[in-house]
């Protein structure tokens, strides 16, 4: 009897909690998950003449992600443009992650090892750019490197170059913009991990005659690793899907996946291809997230 009452109460409790979560769940299912389903369906349809789709099943969209068919002799070859953009997206995102690692980890270390009072101020200095509009920050970087921007004027003033260097609308510009914009995303989680580290352990290791590099590698690193991985994921994922920064810094010349997707729904008028590219991007991001989850769960199992 008592058991039955217990399950009854448990069920009532579960019902009530689903009820509480319902508004949030309904909004996300209706306006995020369901639309994604529509994208998935659209990727298997035929492009309409003026955008949109015809309801004729087709694998063309997915086919065109990687291949193109010659309109004259019907031969099939790998799509150079799409592969370039795919490669650029992955490549630039990896390099962005690397740059933010090189700059971000020492910065996080620096902040975490300041006296408590100072720490808050340094953190504030990292948080301000983090909260500043992405577009505003991108405009700020553009201002530095455009033809008559500060960097070029400085270099000319110093007599190092004669004419301004064209830096905008290159891979370099996109990279610079992304590294600038996503740097705080690296610093914050790494800082959180270092801050949790008990420096007494490092001293103990040293007393036991561990050398400084050994101590760093075997005592410090394992404990701050999760923060470094989290930071890398937080930078890599939005880099891969970046749209605004490549559009401003790269113009039409150095597109990334996000810009290619937008183009298929705009001038390209190939919605199924756009939909297939969207899902490709989503899968890439999900793979990165799965890798991250597996890495961190293994980590916590070991620890």
């Amino acid at each position: 009897m008592a058991m039955r009452g217990e399950t009854h109460a448990r069920r009532a409790d579960a019902r009530r909690r689903w009820g509480l979560a319902l508004p949030a769940l309904a909004i996300i299912v209706l306006f995020s998950i369901l639309p994604l389903g529509v994208v998935a369906v659209y990727s298997f349809l035929t492009p309409g003449d003026y955008g949109n789709v015809k309801w004729i099943p087709s694998l063309q969209g997915w086919f065109q992600v990687l291949f193109e068919r010659d309109i004259f002799d019907d031969t099939v070859s790998l799509s150079g443009a799409h592969l370039t953009i795919l490669g650029r997206s992955v490549g630039l995102s990896l390099v962005t992650t690397l740059i933010t690692l090189v700059l971000g980890v020492p910065t996080a270390w620096f902040i975490a090892t300041r006296p408590l009072r100072q720490r808050a101020v340094w953190l504030l200095l990292i948080t301000i750019p983090f909260w500043t509009n992405l577009l505003v920050r991108t405009i700020a970087v553009q201002e530095m490197i455009r033809s008559d921007g500060l960097v070029n004027r400085l270099l000319i003033g110093l007599g190092l170059i004669e004419a301004p260097i064209q830096m905008m609308f290159t891979n370099f510009a996109v990279l610079l913009g992304m590294a600038y914009v996503f740097l705080p995303l690296m610093v914050l989680p790494v800082y959180a991990a270092i801050e949790r580290f008990d420096f007494g352990q490092a001293e103990a290791a040293y007393d036991l005659y561990a050398s400084r590099p050994y101590c760093f590698r075997r005592v410090v690193l394992p404990q701050v690793k999760s923060g470094i991985i989290a930071g890398s994921i937080l930078v890599f994922v939005p880099s891969l899907g970046a749209y605004v920064t490549p559009r401003i810094m790269g113009g039409g010349k150095t597109m990334m996946l996000g810009n290619l997707i937008e183009m298929q729904f705009g001038q390209g008028r190939n919605w199924p291809l756009g939909a297939a590219l969207s899902l490709t991007l989503t899968v890439l991001v999900l793979l990165a997230l799965v890798w991250y989850t597996r890495l961190t769960t293994r980590e916590s199992n070991n620890g």
Partner: protein
């Protein structure tokens, strides 16, 4: 050895790199602000300090429209997202686990796991059809979209606070015959208030900053501050653009600084 004073905190090179990092972060923003103060007509010719571009922006009707839209949007989307997130956080953090809790958490975080551009395109496909069918082109589309991706941002701080909360006060209230809703109103809500405020602020800023969703889903002639900026970037860089950017920068500094001061006072 005499110099066996060991301090692993002093990592060689970390200091200089960190300072370099801060300098690199702040120079572009400083240059932007300085440029916005340029009195001259031309962006690249310096003619002294003036606030004329700020005045010009504040008299510019399309800028003011965009600012109004942004404010309405960030406030409503922030409120909707925070209300939904608070209820959801209450559902997922109380005493024991329930069947399907993992699924609920997964769904609540789903908008964070998919690239923004993909969600924007997905909603565009649906909203374009609704717009065509109903002829309605108001702000509701943007409010709905912003509320959706703001939910996880509001959910995070509220859930974190609830997880760390002591349940004995609630139990005590219940033991003293307080009803479920009464307990919530008199005990849980006051304890939760700072986290709800933090969640709302996060959602508000995330909505205010959003470019991609707004750019894809807005109806013609309906700008928010970021889409207004993006539209003007395509044409030309003017000092007015710098002034508007600097104003947005100022807003974020104010929000961050005030939340910083608030948390400091509490400690």
């Amino acid at each position: 050895m005499a110099d066996r004073k060991f301090d692993i905190r002093r990592l060689p090179g970390a200091g200089p790199l960190a300072i370099l990092c801060f300098v690199l972060l702040y120079i572009p923003m400083a240059v932007l602000v300085v440029n916005s103060l340029n009195a001259g007509e031309q962006v690249s010719v310096w003619e002294g300090v003036s606030l004329r571009w700020y005045a010009a922006a504040l008299q510019n009707e399309s800028f003011l429209n965009a600012a109004t839209n942004s404010l309405i949007l960030a406030t409503t989307a922030g409120l909707i997202a925070t209300a939904c997130a608070t209820l959801a956080a209450l559902a997922t953090t109380r005493t024991r686990d329930f069947r399907g809790e993992g699924t609920v958490n997964l769904i609540l975080n789903q908008p964070l796991m998919v690239p923004e551009i993909v969600l924007a395109i997905a909603l565009l496909i649906i909203f374009a059809q609704i717009k065509q069918a109903t002829g309605y082109t108001g702000l509701t589309y943007l409010i709905v979209a912003h509320s959706t991706f703001c939910i996880p941002f509001a959910y995070m701080p509220i859930r974190a606070r609830l997880q760390g909360m002591d349940l004995t006060l609630e139990t005590a209230a219940a033991d003293l015959y307080a009803g479920r809703f009464y307990t919530f109103r008199k005990v849980t809500l006051p304890l939760l208030a700072p986290a709800i405020l933090a969640g709302f602020m996060l959602a508000f800023v995330v909505s205010l900053d959003n470019v991609v969703m707004s750019e894809f889903l807005k109806s013609p002639g309906q700008d928010t501050l970021p889409t207004y900026l993006l539209g003007h970037l395509r044409r030309n860089l003017t000092s007015e653009i710098y002034a508007i950017s600097a104003l947005l920068l100022l807003i974020s500094v104010l929000i961050v600084a005030s939340s910083w001061l608030l948390t400091r006072k509490r400690n």
